[in-house]
Amino acid sequence: MYMATEITPLTFATLTPWLVWFVPMLAAILIPLIAKAGDKVRDYFAVIFSLISALLAASLLPAALGGQVIHHQVNWIPSLKITAGVLADPLAVLMANVVAWISFLIMVYSLGYMKGEANLTRYWFFMNFFIGSMLLIVLSDNFLQLFFGWEGVGLASYGLISFWNRDEEKRWVGTPGHTAWGVPQAYSPTHAGMKAFVTTRIGDISFLIGILILYSVAGTFDFVHLAEDKQWASTLASMGLLIPVGILIFGGAIGKSAQFPLHEWLPDAMAGPTAVSALIHAATMVKAGVFLVARVGPIFFVAASSIGVTGFFEVIAWIGVITAFLAATQAMVAKEVKKVLAYSTVSQIGYMMLGMGVAGLAANFAAGYVAGFFHLTSHAIFKAALFMGAGALIHATGTKYMNEMGGLRKTMGITYISMLLAAAGLAGIPLFSGFWSKDAILGATLSAEHTASAIPLTILAAATVFITAFYTVRMIGMIFHGEPSHHIKEMEKNGHHLHEAPRVMWLPYAILAVATLAIGLAGPFYEGVLHSIAGSSLENVFGMHVVEEGFKVNPVALGISLIGVAVGAFPAYRYYIARTADPSSLVSRGFLASLYKFLENRWYIDAFYYRVFVYPVATFSTILFKVFETGVIDRISGSAASSSIVLSSVGNWIDVNVIDGFANGTAAAGTMFSRTARKIQSGIAEQYVFIFVVGIIIVILAVLTLR
């Protein structure tokens, strides 16, 4: 009945999805070897392999657009019913193409952006490893294999955020000296990398626990099996675990997609090279969470249709909308161009989660689902363009602060036009891609009939539309309009003439900017296509009944988003483009001043985490270190150096406290053992034996009390 359950035999066509992710992995393994042949060879090798992967992904498109599903599986651990496989359904193929092509463009851009940097072998290794892992996530047909890719992208993200491992001052993110609640708000690349790693790891653990419980009940990790044999859902529901398991799995998505409350790592991940920010922290990896929800959502929706899992989707929608609003407000006051984009990414992913969430709260699952996925693709494109543009700006001006730019539209025309087009997509200006996708999400939220919170969700989402328009126009205005800043003038005076980025850099983002416009112009058509292929994916893989529905605009949603954009863009236009008023006087005192500070300090959430989690743990481990290595217990268990210090300080004590027994016996072993024997007499070995005996007593007591 469902096409996807049939395992397609191994032909070239079924081999392609394997190759799509395997080729970049292979490139990653080969790069350290290829590097021996010279830097140029290595760089082009890395880029060409990402092109091959993109071409392979593109070759999957025709079949996918026709609604075909390639599902190939091999046994991995037969006795545990663990299989390895690829599931190239329309959703996966579309996502794979977005990932592979944007990756390729950013790899090209990297040729220019990273030129002359040291340790590029490491850079290309991690970039290809990232692309391979990301495509593995997208094309996996089961949770376990997906988790492999999930860990892989996390590792690559860590490696690339801390790429500039010398931690030079200019590589830091945040403003040095700025503190919130006593917590410094500037981070070195290696600190930021560790922060990202640890934070996402929390989500990963939740995810792993979720899929282990699911596996222990369902006996499989396989998506298609889970969608088909729905027994597990009622078993879980009877244990009261259905929604908790869903939320545990969603926890993985929260971490990886930087959603509230695990969102604080992403703004600081901007310490990495901008090409990395564009690829991993804007266009692809942070979408893995949304993709995961797109995979899991339908399974839960279908499997539990008789039980009801609205609670699960309610959580997704609320997390999404809260994140969208929270991050957008912070983008309004950010000073660094990459941070504006980072907050904006967090916020826009919140929209996608909202779309995925309301999908399960409506009778027509496909509406929100398609809207969320539509926004994913359009956001991937315009945000990658914006980041690459920002990288070119930072390269040219030598500063990351927007107030040190200004008036750049004359000197960097191509970058200006490209970023303007992409920003129009982000702001949701009509006829640009973001307009349609955001509108679709708002529409889906309004028509979510299985929840009481459709209205509050819509209000927060609409407020975010307004804020988004404001900060987008502010960013464009501060960078490109007005007069050149003092910093730029100084540069000019010192003989640094500003000029456009090299072609290898601007071409990739110009292409994506044009794509933003093209998707915008074809918006309704594109959405229709998405709807039909996502629909066929839902029907063929998950056996869901999808209402065929043409393109239609929800007039209320349309009105809200048009008004929101206009109201948000207008003051920003006055302050930052026309520059008829000075925004700084507005926030110099009163309520707005404290609001400004509140937003600038990231709602104090970051500081709160440091105060509550990071600092206590650091203190705890310092104490532990003292106890274990330099403190009291060192007399029991010390490394040779510190032991001898202790030894001399307690030397006197030893002399009067020579304990007989086997210590004496060992001391008699001869002068060769003299030093050792003295140590034994110092009580070390006695204490070991003492603890051993205590251990026996503990075990006896445990067995006695627990019987």
């Binding site: 046994n75 991995w76 651990i77 037969p78 006795s79 545990l80 376990l144 988790f147 492999f148 860990e151 491992n165 010398r166 290696t190 790693f197 640890v198 790891r201 929390i202 990963d204 653990i205 792993l208 626990i209 282990l212 419980i213 596996y215 222990s216 481990s621 532990l624 274990f628 290595e629 029991i636 268990s637 490394s639 040779a640 086997f662 060992t666 072993a669 053992f673 030093r675 050792t676 024997a677 140590k679 034994i680 070390i684 070995a685 204490q687 070991y688 034996v689 603890i691 051993f692 205590v694 251990g695 026996i696 503990i698 075990v699 006896i700 445990a702 067995v703 006695l704 627990l706 019987r707």
Partner: protein
């Protein structure tokens, strides 16, 4: 009955051959000869096991013999011999710096023999004999760098506690004999289930003493105190042997004694094991985080890993269709053995070039000793349970077993959670070493020569970690068959 006897002949023969060759040549033979003999002997033993394994007939009867020639013994002897082979091969280069290679290799083979006999032993007295045969040579090996006070100190501490634990074990065996009138495990178990209730306190004492005695080598908290000192002081190749092989032999005994015997005592012992598991892995991981010397860090990491294996022992009785907890014990014994051996051999390779290596001297090692650093990275990632390396799979099996046990006991899910949290936490210190090797600047620059032999062993070991990670099925199925053998043996002696 035959395999343990053959193996005894081969391994003891090899050990004696080394000594004879040394005596005949009067020390004039090639320095590396003892190393090649011992490696050859171990490889012949492994080959012998595989040759015998092809014949399907394995007697699963409960006899009065002191050995049980079953798949469990085969599995563990392959694990310990594989680790011994890695150690022997890496020692060829390493021992050159210490000298007295004949004695070293001969002791290594006697240890291997003790471990193999332990894997097959089915009689408590045989267990004590094999236990001593395994332990005595390791005391000497630990102190093998006799001019290094640390090494001597480690050896003496280890010896004192080892002797103490043997005493404890002997006492426990005597108590079992008192209660059951036999030291044969199967016979004793059958006798014990008809034990009068007033003898229960003695039974509890006996079991607790067995746990403590075996726990010393299994590195179970609170019987772990000697480990960091011993691993730090011992030559790193010997540390590899201790953590990767003798510990696994102790787990083999634990499986044979506890999994078969304990269900027949009217005791709730699994909860105690679960508590020991949580204590062992948590303490190991937290202490590892604060270490400044890599051998100590690996020692605590090895303690933590023993905690994961204990999860499998604790949940073993709650398995439903397949003995998944037991499979986890065996599987993780294998994966951890290979990974820990690789890590310590990499440390040996570094200590050949950098005297007294602190954690700081690992900074920038990726450029100074690329192959060693890379293989150490693979081993550490494997220990942290990063997919797709083999350590991921064995932990997955152990944690799944705990989740499944959650259906039977309330703490099953919590045990899995503790395991997963510990795994996540442990990545902190493993990744820290990797970060040092690849991201930090070295204290002194300059490429260091990597010994050819050690590099070869490291690459081979890393390949095992990767390949059994990508294709875990064969090892898993082997562990499954071996576990079925022991659990069927458990039902064979069970009251009908």
């Amino acid at each position: 009955m035959d395999l343990p006897i053959y193996l005894t002949g081969v391994l003891a023969g090899g050990a004696l051959l080394i000594l004879v060759a040394e005596a005949v040549s009067g020390g004039k033979a090639k320095k590396a000869l003892p190393g090649y003999i011992s490696l050859g002997t171990i490889l012949v033993s492994i080959g012998l096991i595989f040759l015998t394994q092809i014949s399907p007939a394995f007697s699963l009867t409960t006899s009065h013999s002191v050995f049980r020639n079953d798949l469990l013994g085969v599995f563990f002897s392959i694990v310990v011999l594989a680790v011994s082979a890695l150690v022997a091969a890496s020692s060829i280069d390493y021992v050159k710096t210490i000298g007295n290679s004949a004695a070293y290799n001969s002791l290594l083979l006697f240890t291997a023999l003790g471990m193999v006999l332990l894997a097959f032993a089915a009689d408590l007295l045989m267990i004590i004999v094999a236990w001593e045969l395994m332990s005595l040579p390791t005391y000497m090996l630990t102190g093998f760098r006799k001019n290094d006070p640390d090494s001597t100190e480690a050896s003496v501490k280890y010896f004192i506690l080892g002797a103490f634990s043997t005493g404890v074990l002997l006492y426990a065996v005597s108590l079992v004999y008192l209660l059951a009138g036999s030291t044969n495990i199967a016979t004793a178990v059958l006798a014990l289930q008809e034990l009068a209730p007033e003898f229960n306190p003695i039974a509890i004492l006996a079991v607790s003493l067995l746990v403590a005695g075996f726990g010393l080598k299994m590195s179970v908290v609170p019987f772990h105190m000697w480990i960091p000192d011993a691993y730090e002081g011992a030559p790193p190749t010997v540390a590899a042997l201790l953590s990767a092989a003798t510990k696994k032999a102790a787990f083999a005994v634990a499986v044979r004694v506890f999994v078969v015997a304990l269900p027949f005592f009217q005791l709730e012992w699994t909860t105690a094991f679960a508590i020991l598991a949580v204590a062992t892995m948590t303490l190991g991981n937290i202490a590892a985080l604060t270490q400044k010397v890599i051998s100590r860090m690996l020692a605590y990491s090895s303690i933590a890993q023993a905690g994961y294996i204990l999860i499998g022992l604790a949940v073993a009785p709650y398995a439903q269709s397949t003995p998944i907890g037991l499979i986890g014990v065996l599987f993780h014994s294998f994966t951890h053995g290979v990974m820990q051996a690789t890590a310590f051999i990499a440390v040996a390779a570094v200590s050949l070039r950098i005297a007294k290596p602190s954690l700081d001297s690992y900074n920038g090692l990726g450029l100074r000793m690329p192959v060693t650093a890379f293989t150490l990275t693979i081993a550490l990632l494997g220990l942290a349970g990063v997919p797709p390396l083999n350590g991921f799979w064995s932990k997955l099996v152990l944690f799944s077993a705990a989740v499944e046990a959650g259906n039977a006991v309330w703490w099953g899910g919590w045990l899995a959670l503790a395991g997963i949290l510990n795994t996540g936490f442990s990545l902190g210190y493993y990744a820290w070493v990797i970060k040092r090797m690849y991201l930090d600047d070295p204290e002194e620059a300059g490429r260091l020569k990597e010994s050819f032999g050690l590099t070869g062993v490291l690459v081979a070991a890393a390949l095992i970690i990767i390949i059994t990670g990508i294709f875990p099925a064969p090892i898993y199925e082997f562990a499954e068959n071996a576990s079925l053998a022991i659990s069927s043996a458990a039902t064979a002696v069970a009251p009908s």
